[in-house]
């Protein structure tokens, strides 16, 4: 039974060990990688959340920060950070909107610093949150459908339906014709 005792000691050691310096180094390295992800994806994610919430800058700020904070916390188990962080941010934003008791909140006063997109935000608020997100990810962030599906946590075919319906609604609301140069 000596092997059994040795194995139990080894298992106990694994369970009780404190994080080593190497662990800390790995954690710092992961945080550094996430900083890079934030630089590359953060602004686009924030704009997507702004659109998803119908112009709620306060929610967009909070859910993007919280999603990245959770990514740092769970960095060891995340294989592909960007889609993961997007999915968390979407869920947090959805929950915030539900907590407010309204899917399409009134245009907030604090977005007075977004005059150029006030018309767009007004139109986006007449779409469903899923439609808003799909439209912005496709036409603002230039993401292909498969990546949008990955980030929203829905099927690619569903994304295409959201794009179709959102596009038709925006065409009605904002117009089809192109300004002359």
């Amino acid at each position: 039974m000596r092997w059994l005792a040795a194995t139990m000691i080894a298992m106990g050691g694994l369970a009780f060990n404190e994080p080593s310096k190497d662990d800390t180094g790995v954690a710092n390295e992961v945080a550094h990688d996430l900083a890079q992800v934030f630089r590359e994806e953060g602004p686009g994610m924030w704009r997507t959340m702004l659109a998803f919430t119908g112009g709620r800058r306060d929610i967009a700020d909070d859910v993007v920060a919280e999603a990245f904070a959770r990514a740092v916390q769970h960095s060891r188990s995340i294989h592909d950070p960007a889609p993961w962080i997007y999915r968390v941010a979407f869920r947090l934003a959805r929950e915030e909107l539900e907590r407010d008791g309204q899917r399409s909140p009134p245009f907030p006063e604090e977005t007075g610093d977004l005059p150029d997109v006030s018309g767009l935000m007004g139109a986006l608020r007449q779409l469903s949150p899923q439609q808003r997100a799909a439209i912005v990810l496709h036409y603002e962030a230039d993401l292909p459908v498969a990546e949008i599906a990955d980030r929203m946590g829905i099927a690619a075919a569903t994304v295409r339906v959201h794009l179709f319906r959102g596009r038709a609604r925006l065409r009605d609301l904002l117009g089809r014709e192109v300004d002359e140069p």
Binding site: L14, V64, A69, R91, L120, G153, F164, L170
Partner: protein, 294 residues
């Protein structure tokens, strides 16, 4: 040329995010469940005790299975009719790693505990577009059916945020096999298939998958054979059609349905793969413009 609404959407690029979001993220305390209130030492004691129990039970099973003179021998992993998984905030367990395709697809029985607003996702390794998520149709856990191609695939669970428990990116592997011969293969005869795709058609659109294929897939020849493939019974995400030329499969397409404004079923070629040089592509007329898919 883009339309006015597209130009409006692109104005979002000029909107700058609020400064300090990254610093805010780095300054936030770790989120956790009530379990995190336990002192670390207590958590480790619990983990150690659980590990010991698991070890002893596993040892007992191993002794029963492999004791001397026992007639039991190694067996191939058994094929199950249902993919059974068990997820909690720390782990995912694939209880049936080899699963038989059923006529309507892959049957999944997910037992999710401790995760708020969970999502169970499935993805085939051979088709990056095959991502299918349990929450998208309201089924969070329990039994649901999805259609994935045969071969290796991954399943993953994610938790929601409402309990303050950070989602884990937990995934496990499994293999879909076809011992009952229900699946019609649609794997391309060539390597490096090209992704093509379209969108629902305004003003109605095709009323059957066959009509969608005929009207939206360009470059096919009269001698091409177009037929249903994949699973014989319809289930999400929709039927697959394969296109064969001279006995070789040179394209396949997913053709889901969607309700039009009157609630009638319409179909569109959502996406598919075609052999390079086949001349096949998806082309859909969109109002005064067109979209060649991607």
């Amino acid at each position: 040329m883009s339309e006015r609404w597209q130009q409006e959407v692109r104005k979002l690029r000029d909107v700058e995010p609020t400064p300090g979001i990254w610093e805010d993220a780095m300054g936030r305390p770790p989120s956790g469940t009530g379990d995190d209130d336990h002192p670390p030492t207590r958590k480790r004691l619990i983990a150690g005790a659980l590990a010991l129990i698991v070890f002893i039970v596993a040892g007992a099973f191993a002794w029963q299975a492999f004791r001397p003179n026992d007639r039991l021998s190694f067996v191939e992993p058994s094929v199950s009719d249902v993919l059974r998984i068990r997820c909690d905030p720390q782990s995912i367990e694939v209880l049936t790693p080899v699963v038989a395709a059923q006529p309507d697809g892959l049957h999944v029985d997910a037992d999710v505990t401790g995760l708020a607003d969970p999502i169970v996702g499935l993805k085939s390794k051979s088709d990056p577009n095959s991502g299918s998520y349990s929450g998208s149709d309201g089924v969070v856990d329990g039994v649901f059916v999805r259609q994935l191609p045969l071969g290796e695939a991954t399943v993953f669970c994610e938790s929601g945020p409402s309990e303050g428990d950070g989602p884990e990116d937990l995934s496990g592997s499994f293999t879909i096999v076809d011992p009952n011969g229900v699946f019609t293969d649609y794997q391309l005869s060539c390597a490096d298939g090209e992704l093509v795709g379209g969108y629902p058609v305004p003003d109605g659109g095709p009323r059957s998958p066959e009509e969608a294929i005929t009207s939206q897939v360009e470059g096919s020849k009269s001698s091409d054979v177009i037929e249903r493939a994949g699973y014989p019974v319809l289930a999400p995400p929709g039927p697959i059609y394969r296109l064969a030329r001279d006995g070789r499969i040179i394209g396949w397409f997913l053709v889901p349905k969607f309700p039009d404004q009157e609630g009638r079923d319409r179909y569109f070629v959502a996406y598919g793969y075609v052999c390079p040089g086949s001349g096949l592509h998806v082309f859909i007329q969109l109002g005064n413009g067109s979209d060649p898919g991607q």
